[in-house]
Symmetry: C2
Subunit: 271 residues, 2 copies
Amino acid sequence: MSSKPIGIFDSGVGGLTVLAATRRLLPNESLVYLGDTARVPYGNKSAETILKYSEECCAFLASKNVKAIVIACNTASAHALPYLQHRFHFPIIGVIEPGVEEALRVSKNRHIGLIGTEATVRSEIYAKELKKRDSLATVSSQACPLFVPLVEEDWLDNEITRAVAQKYLTSFGESNIDTLILGCTHYPLLKKVIGELLGPQVSLIDSAEAIARKCLTLFGEGASLPAGRQAKVSGSFSPLEIYITDFSSRFESIAKRFLETTLPPIKKAVL
Amino acid sequence: MSSKPIGIFDSGVGGLTVLAATRRLLPNESLVYLGDTARVPYGNKSAETILKYSEECCAFLASKNVKAIVIACNTASAHALPYLQHRFHFPIIGVIEPGVEEALRVSKNRHIGLIGTEATVRSEIYAKELKKRDSLATVSSQACPLFVPLVEEDWLDNEITRAVAQKYLTSFGESNIDTLILGCTHYPLLKKVIGELLGPQVSLIDSAEAIARKCLTLFGEGASLPAGRQAKVSGSFSPLEIYITDFSSRFESIAKRFLETTLPPIKKAVL
């Protein structure tokens, strides 16, 4: 495989969970991250606008000479993936397919829950992708618009977050799901609260992990080593670049929470 | 005065509270509203980006031949007003000055509280404007990032909203404020919860009302009548146009909540 970097794009900081998981599984890959912080969030916007913004972000990453793009944003994956795959001449991997495949692998009763932004839930893409692979699968979904601002406020496990989660997740009470897809890259940070409310009988699917495994399958560990370089020792990584479209005051503190490591100097992208 | 319309601009739907108040006080004025729903919210973005977006919105309203622009967005007023006043050759009225003047009129002990978005609070513009008019005034401020998503979720008065408000407003407990400026156009919809928590000894300043009164002073009721037209009877209004930059699924339902009236056909603005 080529030594060109893999691009990762998200509407904001949430995709850093995908970046972190991808780095852990593919430490020899160079990565370029773009967060469209100037226009975040995408989840409450129209399909047309989501498509336009996603295309601009992918064009920016294409200009960085990437060999593939991971769309870490569920909302963008839900609305723009086929178009982007048609538009660009390198592999573009969405976050939905890996999450769906993992959910079907884990679920025993085929009753699968989905939580996501308004736009993701409205797209019904998860239901379509699940049914395509297993016509007997049933899907219950719930939009959780307050989860993203709660994570950005760093209220990950207080009484307010628990009350909000309880209000949103009540709808799953009677649907007998045994698996819940966390259909937004912010949500893994609320795993503890969600898991406690739904109980151990419901498996939580973290798309970040699923997409990283998909990348491992596609790009393979050994094959991704640039010619003439040694495999990295544990804890050592290939170059990482992080671009954002707006330097908001909270980006660094939120980013550290997501990435769980030291950040490289962050650069501004002009789209 | 000219029969040209007054432009009102906000980052999203919140400015419709200003539109509603302005229509009540100036029913003979034609109004053009622009909500930048494709890039909402502004409150978590940098000063540079807020300035760029605000300029684009004002340029759009200028193309509609407005005689003045009301910047209904606190965040945009905080960061972009002097620049916009320099850039355009008609009056541009921000939402901060009317709120500040009203607070100083109402407050007895000169201890004034402010709640707003992160960007508004960070700008310290309210403190500067208050001190400029009364050097003895003291200001306590608190960013409330979850208030906007709570209003957009239509959770205006439930136990979660009360818990969030309590958490944010605790900081005012010891500051002895007698007046609180609601420094974001979404916040008047939370007046009931905020008022109950702070008690009757704290007056709440709704910038929408204050800015409408400012417009009344500037444009005057009788003077605003286009030549040859009769004063409107109560309940009858001059033309109103509403533009948004993105048709999100929830815009109409949220807009109705803010405007408390039937909406005209909403048009898309391309900036």
